[in-house]
């Protein structure tokens, strides 16, 4: 079977998947995005920011659900707001509920794959395959209304992937999940991005989700891009270690200060910003020098709000 040209064009040789050019979106007087520029290439990219930062607006602009006020949001060089064709190669997992209760996951996915343009016979196979990949093989003939939150989230993910998109935009995919379910979901997303070869834009306000899953990160705040880069570099800059000691805490602070490390009191703990791994040795030496009894020392995963607080200081 010959491969359609369209598929070949989209799957190979395109360096930039998504591109925002002076992208602006206003709702009346409210500015959601203000002249934003960024590019997204292959892999898993995190779109990080607090609620109201413009993440969902950016996602909807790239899906063609919204029209930019000015500038452009392009996917593979085309504007989804104008081109229906490009939407066949996009996947979307919304944050809100988007599933019917009365029909089975198998039925629902088969239908949505067809709405993405795939003929019925192939649609059924695609639906069954993707439900197996997200771990819903056994339950696929049960009405979705009977599913747990975790299973529903997996159906939402499955419908965004079943038509084999080039890129899938996932809006807060771990919302409402317990820690176990959250870890499962993030593992699935990593697999999708790295094994399935479907690029992912993961929109989240949780640093931990982005850090453990994404290759690159774009930080949005109040409608502007404030940071972007590889996740590894980004998280190293912001890692905090929490130290709990029994007594001699002031001596420890002094000993750390003597080694050029600033420790701040955070509740019952001391918080130390780490810039490189060698500082662990310095902390160990400071503990010995101050004769403080160490009870606990653990890295703290930054919440996004902490990053912004430290940026402001």
């Amino acid at each position: 079977m010959s491969k359609p040209n369209r598929t070949a064009r989209y799957n190979t040789g395109v360096a930039t998947l998504l591109e925002a050019k002076s992208l602006t979106k206003r709702y009346g007087q409210t500015i959601a995005l203000e002249s934003v520029d960024f590019q997204v290439s292959d892999g898993i990219t995190g779109l990080l920011g607090p609620n109201g930062a413009g993440k969902s607006t950016a996602t909807k602009l790239f899906l063609g659900l919204l029209k930019p006020t000015s500038g452009s949001a392009e996917v593979l060089g085309e504007k989804p707001y104008e081109s229906l064709e490009i939407r066949a190669r996009l996947g979307y997992m919304p944050e809100h509920d988007c599933l019917p209760a009365a029909i089975t996951a198998s039925e629902f996915l088969t239908h949505m794959v067809q709405v993405s343009g795939i003929p019925p016979s192939q649609a059924r196979t695609r639906a069954a395959d993707i439900l197996r990949h997200v771990g819903l093989e056994e339950e696929r003939y049960r009405p979705i209304g009977q599913y747990s939150t975790g299973m529903k989230q997996r159906v939402k993910l499955a419908q965004s992937l079943a038509h084999d998109p080039v890129v899938a935009l996932l809006d807060e995919p771990t919302a409402g999940l317990d820690p176990g379910g959250r870890e499962d979901m993030l593992r699935l997303i990593r697999r999708t991005g790295h094994e399935f070869g479907i690029s992912i834009i993961l929109s989240s306000h949780l640093m931990g989700d982005v850090e453990s899953t994404c290759d690159r990160i774009i930080v949005l705040e109040s409608g502007h891009v404030t940071e972007q880069g590889a996740v590894a570099q980004f998280t190293r800059e912001t890692e905090t270690v929490l130290i709990d000691v029994d007594g001699n805490r002031d001596e420890l602070v002094a000993a750390l200060a003597g080694r050029g490390i600033t420790a701040t009191v955070d509740g019952i703990s001391l918080a130390v910003e780490l810039n490189d791994d060698a500082q662990y040795d310095a902390i160990r030496d400071a503990l010995v020098e101050s004769n403080a009894r160490l009870r606990r020392m653990a890295p703290r995963r930054h919440q996004l709000t902490d990053i912004f607080r430290s940026d402001e200081s």
């Binding site: 079977m1 491969k3 359609p4 369209r6 598929t7 799957n11 899906l63 063609g64 659900l65 229906l84 064709e85 939407r87 066949a88 996009l90 979307y92 919304p94 809100h96 509920d97 988007c98 599933l99 019917p100 209760a101 009365a102 029909i103 039925e107 239908h111 949505m112 067809q114 709405v115 993405s116 343009g117 795939i118 003929p119 192939q122 695609r126 395959d129 990949h133 419908q159 038509h163 084999d164 094994e195 399935f196 070869g197």
Partner: protein, 307 residues
Amino acid sequence: MTQRTGELFDLGYQHYDGPREGRARARKAVFFDGFRTTLGLGRGAGAKVLPMLLFGAAMAPAIILALVASLSDGQLDLPGHPEYYSIVSVVLLIFAAIIAPELLCPDRRNGVISLYLVRPLSITDYVAARWLAFFAITLLLVYSGQMVLLAGLVLSASDPLDYIKDNWLDIPRILSAGFLLAAFITTLPLAVSAFTDRRALAAAFVIGIFVISTAASGILTGCDEGGGHRGGGECEPITGDAGKWLSMVDISRAPTYVNNMIFDADSGDPRDRLNAELPPIVPIAWYILLTGGLGAALWLRYRRLSV
């Protein structure tokens, strides 16, 4: 090398290299999904009961009339093609009021609509496909009834060929009047459904419109004491000359008035007679205004939908 059987392999994720048919396939999928939803296919038994009951209720008058006609050998003056649509329109309206909202309300209530809108499909495609799905079923229903009736009348005639020769005009009349009735019965409940997420509310509202407008029109065009009754003489409405205009207050009769014109028939109903006094263009314009206006409301409402 020997082939071993019975082993399972996980082939991992497979990319899709088959045909992608874009917008045309998307439209078809939404259309057939609407078709299946209306008939309750692919759902539990409960979802099928109501469509089947209403389908039966719409077909019953045709079957009974056809049977009676064939047993009476054309001796009785029975309701025929011109009257069939006004007889079943009540059942059709209930059918549409209850089932049509199912095509639009749940998609917005469950949020599924946002998944449609990110696919290769415009909002107009979505609404048009849903409308066409319900229209196709309504059309099938009204035509089936007329065809059963026609078959009964042809077979009970002493000379079936002569009957067809004399009455062949009934066929284009059945087709055009049925088309207009189906378009009206599809558009009204779908337009109402565009304004509420709740199916029950949409159904109640549609039925309410019919009950209230029929009652209001009945009061406004009510005959004086001793005036005409069904099949009787002329009716003098209490509102005098305005009565013929007020006959149009009854929204459910908008397609019936046009139906009577198409069949060039006198149903004997006082309101139909009053309406027939108006210039023909008036009921036609009223029908177009109502159906077109409701269709436009449906479309505009969806155009402005934000997800």
